[in-house]
Subunit: 417 residues, 2 copies
């Protein structure tokens, strides 16, 4: 089997063209899910695919598919892709890279007249970011589970616009796409994405061979104390919810991550009441984002958090309550596909490292439907969800090349008889 | 000299009558400064005074005075009083007790035909609370300094209403009051107030002999780190502003107050950005309310805060900046007046203790104009700025009796030839 070389210039030009849709003055992208800009990007992608003879489909979640036929089109397709929506002040590469690299793979196969055993499909998942309509990874979750979450229709964006209305308008904006049912069988799925972290860059690696996506559990911790006057209340009479919250957060930060290099603990939100300079807070609520590649370790960390919070709150005269607001189990990718990605990187002599993904991706849900894997490329300073997000051209091209090579090798392994 | 017994029943009835003006269903009071309710309370007070033959005055800050004439009315008056405005969910006693006890003193002198050497004036200061228009102690500050703070006219309340407009309307609502200049000389000032803290109640004392008001310094601490992804950023790459803020607050709470029983340190406000569960905060701003009876110790505490914050921020890869947002030096009351208050409590065999005030009061500014002192009575559970604020009837009466006795004794000491 031949492994053709992709057209890096074409891919970079496509990234520029899509970055202009919702492009911001600072060089970033504002292309919220299901917005007018998102529809424009979908229409451009569909048109580029149709021009090369690929069939265009969309399902009820507005996931967009471009199919390049194989020798036997009754075989389940092999999927490659990512998403086209962005954060409000997002970058040019998050999602777009994986989607347009998938288009580059299909076009490279077309350019080289390569006939695959079964079809290969590009997929652009709907609303991966979740920043306009919560939660994210909406399209891939609906596709993989075959069902919409209950009450999803009435989810509102910040302007009070309904998700169901925007989804219907987005579907209607692409009448040339053929309707397709949710959750069709797949041969496998590979997603190329920027790392969104600093590890590859720090280690001089070009390709991240992603073994899975770490699990995430969100806790909401509420400390209940007693509102009192800052000037008149002596230490012994204080039940200061903020002092207790600070002690809990400080202790967790000093212990959890230093003791376990795979653990991540972040307090990203904190609110207190009543919130006056001269009033001892009576209530503090804060979030904990806990992540670990190992689900058992997430359970252990939650137990540690609860024990520590209870002990500190009690000694500070406060009560604590903790509830889970989200829980996503770790995903473990397919060993054969992981090895195929690694082999593809090695064959091109691209320095690579195996790693877990710290962020969610649509591959999290696709791993429930069939064999899945991901390829990471570095992003400058590990920055993403940021208008200054940047990937060097040679890194873009290397990632797309590995996607192309790994897809062809996966077709050989998974679709040959 | 005779020391007449006040009419406790009359005073309690007056407290009920004023609590009905802006009274809340939960038994508290909502009488914002310069509001319609505040004007109604002022009108009732002025009417009660006029009915007893007291002269009614107001100055340009709408401070309201009721003068009971003495033998020689060219002498500077001795002032007693407090304020009539309340917090939005305030109690029945904060301010009203000291104001109506002062009225009770004037009426008791009138009932008993006692002629004092010079005049005694009740004063009801404007906008002590500062919760509608910031800052508080507005009227006493303007009166004592003889000047309005710059830009005060355009101070807005939460509904965009201008302080200057409400002040003018309040002055106009009491046309029978005689205009009086700011900052007239006084013989002295005594203010009765609820403690707003737990010390008297805990020690079974009926009277707090207040030696001064502790100083207050407000600091605004800003921690600047780096926004980053909660899932992808390993510990070594984090510059987590919230982790740093928590470490600083936890360390301050663990050290400052345990080491110095007179110190008070409170973090009552904290905001962070961007404020998403899965984003490491790049910036946290929090307030520190520092109090101490000794101004040098406030300087020492500020130095400690700055050193600690700088050290912890630096080790967490963050920058820290600190600015003072308020600074009020401690007030030390007049030793002769303090002794007079103590003597008055002892003569009635009321258990008393000497103490500093943890809260601001109008006496803070009056102490700059002349000899000043305060009398505290307990409030249940130390609670105030709260609709459930409560003072036992015998505590109300004891406080007013000490105010009456101390005022007469002060007239003897300060106004006799």
């Amino acid at each position: 089997m031949t492994f053709p070389v992709i057209d890096g210039g074409r891919l970079l030009a496509r990234l520029d063209a899509f970055a202009a849709i919702g492009g911001t003055p600072a060089g970033g992208v504002n292309r919220p899910a299901l917005s007018v800009e998102d529809r424009a990007a979908r229409a451009l992608l569909a048109g580029l695919g149709a021009a090369r003879g690929f069939s265009v489909f969309q399902d009820a979640a507005a996931n967009l598919f471009l199919r390049r036929a194989g020798a036997d089109n009754d075989r389940p397709p092999f999927l490659i892709g990512s998403h086209l929506d962005s954060q409000p002040t997002g970058g040019r590469f998050d999602g777009a890279l994986g989607t347009l690299a998938a288009l580059e793979v299909l076009e490279t196969l077309e350019d080289n007249g390569i006939v695959t055993a079964g079809p290969i499909e590009l997929v652009a998942w709907t609303n991966e970011e979740g920043s306009r309509f919560s939660p994210g990874a909406f399209g891939s979750q609906v596709h993989a589970t075959g069902a919409f979450p209950s009450g999803w229709q009435d989810t509102l964006d910040g302007n009070g616009i309904r998700l169901a209305d925007e989804l219907a308008a987005t579907l209607a904006a692409l009448p040339e796409a053929i309707e397709r049912p949710l959750g069709r069988p797949v041969t496998g799925y590979i997603e190329l994405h920027i790392e969104q972290g600093p590890l590859l860059e720090r280690q001089g690696a070009l390709i991240g061979v992603v073994e899975g996506i770490q699990g995430t559990r969100w806790l909401e911790v509420t400390i209940a104390g007693q509102v009192a006057h800052a000037g008149t209340t002596p230490l012994a009479a204080r039940r200061d919810a903020m002092a207790v919250a600070a002690a809990i957060i400080a202790r967790l930060q000093a212990t959890v991550m230093p003791a376990d290099a795979d653990a991540r603990l972040t307090v990203g939100r904190l609110t207190l009441a009543p919130g006056a300079v001269n009033v001892i807070p009576g209530e503090v609520t804060f979030s904990i984002d806990l992540r670990h590649p190992n689900g058992d370790q997430i359970d252990r960390l939650e137990t540690e958090v609860a024990a520590l919070a209870t002990e500190i709150a009690s000694s500070g005269g406060c009560r604590v309550s903790i509830r889970r607001s989200m829980d996503v189990a770790p995903a473990r990718f397919d060993d054969r596909l992981i090895d195929i990605v690694q082999g593809a990187a090695e064959k091109r002599a691209f320095p690579s490292r195996r790693m877990f993904s710290g962020a969610f991706h649509d591959a999290l849900f696709m791993a429930r439907l069939g064999p899945a894997a991901m390829i990471f490329v570095p992003c400058r300073d590990g920055l993403s969800h940021n208008e200054t997000e940047f990937v060097e051209p040679h890194q873009v091209i290397a990632g797309a090349q590995v996607l192309c090579d790994a897809t062809l090798e996966a077709m050989r392994v998974f679709q040959s008889r």
